[in-house]
């Protein structure tokens, strides 16, 4: 008999609030290993929030997230993360190499020094993204596409099994976009699971084999050909669920008069 391996990602009834206002309502989602999932939805639909809630960076009000059958805080080294490019201070005095090495920190552990093996592995990751010639450049001196490649090289250096990426295609040139798509497919073919926030509907169909349509609620999740339909897209992008949002925040405010905002 086959032993059922824990799924890379299991989300049950997840509700997340930001400054006393819920931004995700009762999300249920199970992702099979080796899926390349695009998370799409209008602005303010909670796409980044979903990623952050999975990582445990943002606290959920209700429900739970399981990563490989564990809480995401316990499965840290198995989860790789590519944050939005704007979330970072690009003037910080670090080089591209330093940034990629940061991907190894989860494996190195507290107080310990970076080993030679970590360095050579980081070089390989940079090489894979064609960024090795820029290893010693200050990160702020790179173009937007190059910065994103460095971020992806860092994700590679994490050697994770589940990757969560927040708009990796935002503001990159066409060549970088192609390189990222190739990388995503490559990782999927290695059996990794990827969840990618994406906002360009015209390419979503070609890039991902699964789609999660999100607008405060999970409108639909499934194989791209099944859910990339006119009706479902209409439902996702056809205006916000204003009543749900209003009542939701009222309910939350009564339940917790002074919740600690993140």
């Amino acid at each position: 008999m086959r032993v059922a391996l824990p799924k890379p990602l299991e989300i049950h009834d997840l509700t997340v609030a930001y400054q006393q206002k819920p931004v995700l309502y009762g999300i249920d989602l199970e992702v099979e290993p080796g899926s390349l999932v695009g998370i799409i939805g209008p602005n303010g639909a909670g796409k980044s929030t979903l990623i952050k809630a999975i990582m445990g960076i943002m606290k959920s009000v209700d429900g739970y997230v399981k990563v490989f059958g564990d809480s995401s805080r316990k499965a840290l080294t198995r989860v790789g993360y590519v944050p939005q490019r704007e979330s970072v201070d690009w003037d910080f005095p670090v080089t591209a190499m330093d940034v990629v090495l940061m991907g190894r920190f989860g494996h190195i552990g507290w107080f310990k020094r970076i080993s030679k093996r970590d360095r050579s592995f980081a070089s390989e990751c940079l090489e894979q993204m064609n960024m090795l010639p820029y290893a010693n450049r200050q990160i702020g001196n790179l173009s937007g596409g190059q910065q994103q490649r460095v971020f992806l090289a860092r994700a590679l250096a994490q050697q994770s099994d589940l990757y969560l990426m927040d708009e990796p295609f935002e503001g990159v040139d066409a060549i970088t976009e192609k390189a990222i798509v190739d990388l995503l497919k490559n990782l999927r073919n290695q059996g990794k699971t990827l969840m990618v926030v994406h906002h360009d509907l015209s390419t979503a169909k070609d890039y991902f084999d699964h789609l999660a349509l999100l607008n405060l609620r999970l409108v639909a999740y499934g194989k791209t050909e099944d859910v990339f339909t006119h009706d479902l897209l209409q439902k996702t992008y056809g205006g916000k669920l204003t009543v749900l949002s209003e009542v939701g925040s009222r309910k939350l405010n009564e339940k917790q008069p002074t919740p600690e905002a993140l």
């Binding site: 960076i57 005095p93 670090v94 330093d98 940061m102 994490q158």
Partner: protein, 495 residues
Amino acid sequence: MFLPIWKKLKYMLLILVLSKEASVLKAAQISSESDKDWINQAIRFWTFTDPSIQIIALGAILIGINCGLMGGYVVSRRLSMFGDTLSHAVLPGIAVGFMFSQSKNEAVLMIGATLSGFLGVGIISLLKRHTKMKEDSAMGLVLSGFYALGICLITYLQQSPNGGTSGLESYLFGSLVGLSDRDLVPLCFCLSLIIICFILLNKELLLSGFDPSFARSVGLPVDILQFCIWILMAFCIVSSLQVIGVVLVSALLIIPASTAGLLTYRMSQILVYSGILGALSGIVGCFLSFMGERLPAGPVIVLCSTLLFLAVLFFSPARGILPSWFRTRRRGQRIRFENTLKACYQVLESRSFSSQSFPQTALAQRRGKSDAEIEKEIGVLIREGYATRQEFPTEQKSELPSETMVSLTPSGWEIASRMIRNHRLWELYLTKEASYAPDHVHDDAEKIEHVIGEKTVRQIERILDNPQRDPHGKPIPSQDDIDRGWLSPPLVADK
């Protein structure tokens, strides 16, 4: 320059205090009145034989290193304003500490200062969380409010019976007077704490400063690390107060690190440079304050570090203002004479390379410039060894001025034909490969010809399959033509 409101407030308060207490500055200088021989004084300082000088010099260096190292993180994490606030917020704590202990007991004063500093920080985060106030306004409010309270308390204490000798005013501007070996203990403690933290938490501090959300995703407690930085900052500020003073201690956190930031973009190097720059400002400032009649230590040390900053800003070889100004100027000169040489080629070309020399007036016509300007341009070429000039008397009409003939030297010829080659190849590349209209390519080529490298030019030549003519039908000199040199000009015009 427009100063924020709290800065104005700060200066107003300062003036108020100064006018009331003229002795503030007087108390803050260390050289004694009787000993005025400054050479002897200087020798006495730099030989470090006098134990009291050893102590003040060591104190100033330690403070410089502490603040310099700490500043590396303060500046890169954008905490400069926060450091300024923290340093001002400690003042009421010093006054209250004095009231409690009824003496200048350093330990009590320091505890008071630290508590008061953290009270200020707490108020900032409360204001940020529970009101719509932005962080900078909250900091401004706490900074000026606490500082005002501190000044009032200190002024009051000095007027009270046992306040006259308290020396509390040295906490405003700093003083090296009365620095004892006991005062070095907190400085050494602070330095070792900073070094231990920075070595142990090197990569954690780097990551949490650069990318907090990623840091959280790998499980780093970002808020606790930030708090560590705050604590270290508070220690660093409080231990430096007596020498530098609350008004200026944050400058030592900001200036050496900013100077280091001009020199390098690696965190580890920033820390090292910043520490060295801090120590240097400390010791030099300490010396000047020691020599000066009425110079308070804090401002002098800060002034030294500012001068170091200016020196680096203007003179650092890689990015300094002066060196890059010189580089720009040299490039401008090069482009100018390259353009003149190019025009020379065009004049020769228009005469079908029939002779090696051409009249200077033809060049003036070609360049559309006055004779005087061309005279100057040719002068530059001759000085650089790219051209020679000869006077030929005009034969028929002797009253006319003689004809000036210019000819290019081999090196001048090489540059001229190279420029033409770059220009025409680039024009062809733009029209053929980048689908530019032929009448749109000239201006771009005018700029590119001066910066395009030989490697790229050859690459373009390969891509275009060794072209002979540019989009306007003019012949493109090949590398062989250039190599063959002036003696056999590229008579491609004949082809």
